[in-house]
């Protein structure tokens, strides 16, 4: 399994791109941040509405923002994959070693996964459809508030652990 992951996670083409064009890493980091701002801005406003802090919005109108949040997530995911697969070109450490020894990276990925599970449950339990009917001033059901609070907390945790990744310990 380790041999498979070591082979699969290192992409020489991405490493070459980062070696050859020195701007790639910095520009992708900027795009990662733009994606994060889009994701937090759009998903955050929906979460705040469900928690009762921006009740003036009908929920259906706020949900129109979700494609922009998805776009932000895709931007983060694609640049994040580039960071992992090309990290050897930046710090000379195999991505497998980084992934298996940096506890902050592991926590970040865990919280991204939990945020995804939370979103899935929001749809599967029918809460997504239930809140669609909420007009301005109406309160969200308690279960929807729990999902919204969890979503906000999980994304904040993702950002927090992402910032701690460079201070993680690598054990090659």
């Amino acid at each position: 399994m380790e041999a498979f992951l070591r082979y699969w996670m290192r992409w020489p083409s991405v490493e070459h791109l980062i070696y050859r064009y020195l701007w790639v890493w910095g520009v992708c980091q900027s795009l990662h941040f733009v994606g994060m701002a889009l994701l937090i801005g759009t998903v955050g406003i929906l979460d705040l509405r469900l928690l009762g802090m921006a009740k003036q919005f009908p929920v259906a109108a706020i949900k129109k923002l979700i494609p922009w949040g998805v776009f932000g997530f895709v931007l983060c995911l694609s640049t994040g994959v580039l960071f992992i697969t090309g990290i050897y070109a930046n710090i000379n450490i195999h991505p497998y070693v980084v992934l298996t020894s940096d506890v902050f990276l592991q926590l970040k990925l865990l919280f991204v996964l939990l945020a995804g599970v939370n979103l899935l449950l929001f749809y599967v339990t029918g809460m997504s459809k239930a809140v669609d009917r909420l007009e301005a001033g109406e309160d969200a059901p308690p279960l929807a508030k729990i999902f919204a609070g969890a979503s906000l907390g999980l994304w904040i945790a993702v950002m927090y652990f992402a910032r701690l990744i460079p201070s993680g310990k690598f054990q090659p």
Binding site: V27, S30, M36, L38, K64
Partner: protein, 211 residues
Amino acid sequence: MWDFLESIENSGFSTYIRETPSVLGYSTVLALHTFGMAFLVGLSGVIALRVLGIIPELPMKPLKNLNVMIVVGFWVNAITGAILTSLAIRSLLTNWDFYVKLAAIACALVSLVKMRRYAFGDPAMRDDAPASADARRWAKLMLFFWFLAVLGGRLTAYATYIRIQSAEAVGVAAILLLLLASVLVRHANRSRSAEATRARASAAEPVTSTR
């Protein structure tokens, strides 16, 4: 002056934040700086999306209430930004990219205030009404300056030649994206006007008399 800056950099507070092995030091200040940025840029970006007519379904007036979160995001960013600057103030003040970042933030904040003034200035305005041309202009400028501020912020950590290469790459990408956007907008306008012409033609057709 240089001695004064050195004393700030070597003060007990700055040294603690910079050198403590605890994650509650430098990393947490950096994380708070990111939270502030996400709320400030993210929420003002949502207002810009409505002002630019990209999401016309969002009611205009309630967006004004996002101001509280935007202001909180700004102050979190300003305080943590001042702390982070104090950790390496001498190298930052001799880094031109740092001034680009600060200028971009100042321009973005001015654009945000102007956009808000034009978008929410008229109390009689309907929630579903399109924003004025002035509001749209300031919204575009604000998004541009926020992007520049984020880019400048990220690139302060890099060597000058990498910054210059990055600026060139972003410039080329921006020109290509603008060309693509102008082609798409022209195509959308053409199909919209063709649709309007068809609708006018069908409305003008004489109704067949039954007499």
